[in-house]
Amino acid sequence: MYETTYHRPSSVDEAAALFTKGTESKYLAGGHTLIPVMKQRLASPSDVIDLGKIKDLVGVEVFADAVTIKAATTHYDVAGSGPVQKAIPALAHLASLIGDPAVRHRGTIGGSIANNDPAADYPAAVLALGATIKTNKRSIAADDFFKGLFATALQGGEIITAVSFRIPAKAGYAKFPHPASRFALTGVFVARTKSGDVRVAATGASSSGVMRVPAIEAALKANWSPGALDGVRIAADGLLTDIQASSAYRANLIKVMAQRAVEHAG
């Protein structure tokens, strides 16, 4: 790892001010992507600004129609949150599938979304639930947030403060995990809103990151059941091919994971 200077601000404003002072600053939340990348010398930030200890960035709030998860809340705390389990059980379930227990003790929702790894779990929930990403500057709709591999609508120095999820009528998540890293080889989040709209997002599948799956959305809107997807075929165009799985295999996984997610959603 190259040399760096570590900062631990106690407020979002202080963090944003520190960011502008460094020549190449990076925010750190759980550190479970940034630190490995720094160890490989693929990133060499002049300044690392730790958001993980900012009290305003930790916690869960449940309202009548929405669940707000503050950005530095760990996967472990989301997975184990009684209010989240009750309001959006699929979201707590998704958090419980990320990495392994020690990773979930450190990794955060804000870090996951800001990094937008194409195989991360949270982006699927954010996109399928039509969540709103709140930052220290503005609110961004999920549809406008994810911009391809490791790219988001965040501007330099902007800090995610919370993610707000509308509570759906039904939701489910299923993933086929990479056998070593537990990232999603393909993961699918299905959601039906209280007004009957259906949104489906797949992660780990596309070479341009998390994506909606219109064919599955249409089929589930007509008939919310795993069997409704039996005849659906997903095109392999634009899907990832790597040592673990071909694009055709991932295309099939999208359908199978969607069926399992619907089954899970009930």
């Binding site: 631990r8 750190l28 392994d100």
Partner: protein, 161 residues
Amino acid sequence: MSTVKLTVNGKAVSADVEDRTLLVHLLRDHLNLTGTHIGCDTSQCGACVVHIDGRAVKSCTVLVGQANGANVTTIEGIAKGDELHPMQAAFRDNHGLQCGYCTPGMIMSAIDIVHRHGGKLDEETVRHELEGNICRCTGYHNIVKSVLDAAGRMKVAQAAE
């Protein structure tokens, strides 16, 4: 360089280290607590697991600054004098190790698992929960047996306190 202050195995510790120092290097190279191992260095194998404020974490993926002010427990801090922690005793009695390299991380993760699940552990849960700890020798059977055995012993020990 920064001065970090933390509590390690109940003792107050202060060290002047570069900001890029990882917690595992502070423990091994500065405090000579070499029971915590480095296996993969890519956050996957779990040989470096310690507890920070009671939670199992991979110390190869924590900067010392993040642990500043924290309470850290390593494999060296769990026995009471000559009396092994029930998890250590269970690993010994069930032969839950072969080469021993992964064992400190296994034991620290396993204690965390028992704390989180209490006495309700079954084999499937233990296997699932150990997914962040990799052993290349044992095939896991005796490790799982050890954790289940220790869960019972820890319950008894807790009830006695």
